[in-house]
């Protein structure tokens, strides 16, 4: 086994024992990263930074008090601002932007001794479910079953592809409507979206601020626990960051869920859902039951309205957040012709810099916030959001510990296959994940099996707010029972 194929947990133990150095581990990942260009996962490579950080990690490991993430090579989603390193959010409008500051998440990771290999591909401003809206072109799923290239999902598609192909040990992702969990499910890895407020958003390019949350994308549930520990915690620079102690997530992985109650929401049994997804879900339910959990049917009656509510609220917030890209302070400015004033500068800059999906969402957001429509669309969607959150609160009040659902309505689809589809069709990818963002809850995707073509499928577990430890423990039980060990055959 090459070092880049290790889990965080295994690498941590080997580094501490002195069986492996951070420099050797980093070199192994840098080699895999360069050999993985066909996946288009890494879009800005930072080998010099990585080796400097690895040398510092080795010095710290030699001192004997290194934290768990010390010397662990990571990929960082392009949405995170990293000082002096291009941070474009997958958009041409931020071409050339090199932040003068470091996001709180990457600051924490670097303080813990983690190593940054480079920045990872993503949908433009995290708006997409297939990585095809990226200004870098799409990242490619390492999984394939014929000569077609498949999407790794989105928006954290580069993160998912890089972890699944062992180009790095783990990667950061962000999740506004499913952007960690859907790509994790499409590539056979683990991805957790923490409770809203658990991880600081400071220095992460904003999409929809009331929904955005960063989280880890890893090879195992244990790695997710270790990684999340290093990312999480209160940050005075993010006013929505929760001032709560962060428990020891890895210690929560007892493997014992006897006596807990798992809810199965009937509204997630969608019309036209493929048999394979239904069968996978039934298998997951059986696994949790075998592990000693009580299975209860529950109802989350407003589930159907989550997607339309999301596609009002997220574009509304995006239209406001993305107003800052005006060609004045950073990024792209259009070439102006004689007589162009400041309005022409804004309009040309934004037409050139934003791709079609981002433009569409900004305009939808502008419309639903405009005078005369604010109540009919935006306020109504926020009322429905309150009802969606209440559905979950009522379920948890009745003693539900975790909710088990499918992660995605299908396995990975082909790149370009949705090109002629209606935008709304692409939005349906988020149908099982978006409720969790609207309610601010933690959710995790766990790989459970392969479909009949041989592509990974995942299930999602949804937890109580701030109970990521308990959620990770349930996910750990599911992971162990499913025993998913398949890897993509290397073709890249």
């Amino acid at each position: 086994m090459n070092a880049n194929e290790l889990t965080i947990a295994a690498a941590r133990d080997a580094l501490r024992k002195g069986d492996l150095t951070a420099v050797d581990l980093t070199m192994s990942c840098l080699t895999a990263m360069d050999a993985g260009d066909g996946l288009n996962a890494f879009v800005h490579k930072t080998p010099e930074i990585a080796l400097d950080q690895a040398r510092a990690a080795d010095a710290r490991l030699a001192q004997g008090d290194a934290p768990a993430m010390c010397g662990i090579p990571l990929g960082i989603k392009d949405l995170f601002c990293t000082k002096g390193v291009p941070s474009q959010a997958g958009s041409n409008i931020l071409k050339g932007f090199r932040p003068e500051y470091e996001s709180t998440v990457t600051t924490r990771l670097f303080e813990a001794g983690a190593v940054m290999l480079g920045k990872l591909n993503m949908d433009e401003f995290a708006m997409g479910s297939s990585n095809e809206t990226s200004c870098y072109g799409p990242a490619v799923n390492p999984w394939k079953v014929d000569d077609r290239q498949l999407t790794p999902g989105g928006s954290s598609g580069g993160s998912a592809a890089a972890v699944a192909a062992d180009l790095c040990l783990a990667a950061t992702g962000t999740d506004t409507g499913g952007s960690i969990r859907q790509p994790a499910a499409f590539t056979g890895i683990v991805g957790i979206k923490p409770t809203y407020g658990r991880v600081s958003r400071w220095g992460i390019v904003a999409f929809a601020s009331s929904l955005d949350q960063a989280g880890p994308m890893t090879k195992t549930v244990r790695d997710a626990a270790i990684f999340l520990q290093a990312m999480a915690g209160h940050d005075p620079k993010d006013s929505t960051s929760a001032n709560l102690a962060v428990p020891d997530f890895e210690a929560a992985l007892t493997g014992d869920i006897r006596g807990t109650t798992i809810g199965i929401p009937k509204e997630y049994r969608m019309d036209g859902m493929p048999d394979e997804i239904e069968a996978l879900w039934a298998r997951g339910i059986a696994m949790m039951k075998d592990a000693g959990a009580r299975i209860v049917d529950i109802s989350l009656p407003h589930t159907k309205y989550a997607l339309p509510a999301y596609y009002v609220i997220a574009p509304a917030e995006a239209s406001s957040n993305l107003a800052r890209y005006d060609g004045v302070r950073y990024g792209h400015r259009a070439k102006l012709t004689a007589g162009d004033g400041i309005t022409e500068m804004y309009e040309k800059t934004r037409a050139e810099g934003f791709g079609p999906e981002v433009q569409r969402r900004i305009m939808v957001g502008t419309y639903v916030l405009s005078a005369g429509f604010y109540d009919a669309y935006y306020n109504r969607a926020r009322r429905v959001r309150a009802l969606i959150k209440r559905d979950f609160e009522l379920a948890f009040a009745e003693g539900i510990d975790a909710i088990l659902t499918p992660a995605t309505p299908s396995s990975a689809f082909g790149l370009g296959e949705m090109a002629s589809a209606d935008p709304v069709e692409m939005y349906l990818n988020d149908v099982f994940t978006v409720t969790v963002n609207l309610a601010g809850l933690p959710g995790i995707a766990v790989p459970v099996g392969l479909d009949r073509r041989g592509l990974p499928l995942g299930l999602q577990l949804i937890g109580r707010p701030w109970a990521e430890g308990d959620l990770l423990n349930h996910a750990h039980v599911l992971e162990t029972a499913a025993g998913f060990v398949a890897k993509a055959d290397k073709w890249w």
């Binding site: 090199r98 804004y346 934004r350 569409r360 419309y367 209606d422 935008p423």
Partner: protein
Amino acid sequence: MSIDTDTARKVAKLARIRVEEADLPALAGQLSGILGFMEQLNEVDVTGVEPMTSVTPMRLARRADVVTDGGQAGRVLANAPDAREGFFAVPKVVE
């Protein structure tokens, strides 16, 4: 609610995104499709439900009203497409 070309033009203007006249009908069609999808929300009885303002019940944190940062004009301007004499430069705004 169907979006016509005039409305699409107005929305593009409000969003400060230049859309060529020839592209407006297609844009109007796409926006109509998306807004049609949102119409489902009208089926929900929201009587007496307050619009959600904060997903986690928390009081917004406050800090002392004092200067905490500053004196970094060079770094603030470092990424500007056009910066002159310590300022962001834009086309003439006032005649």
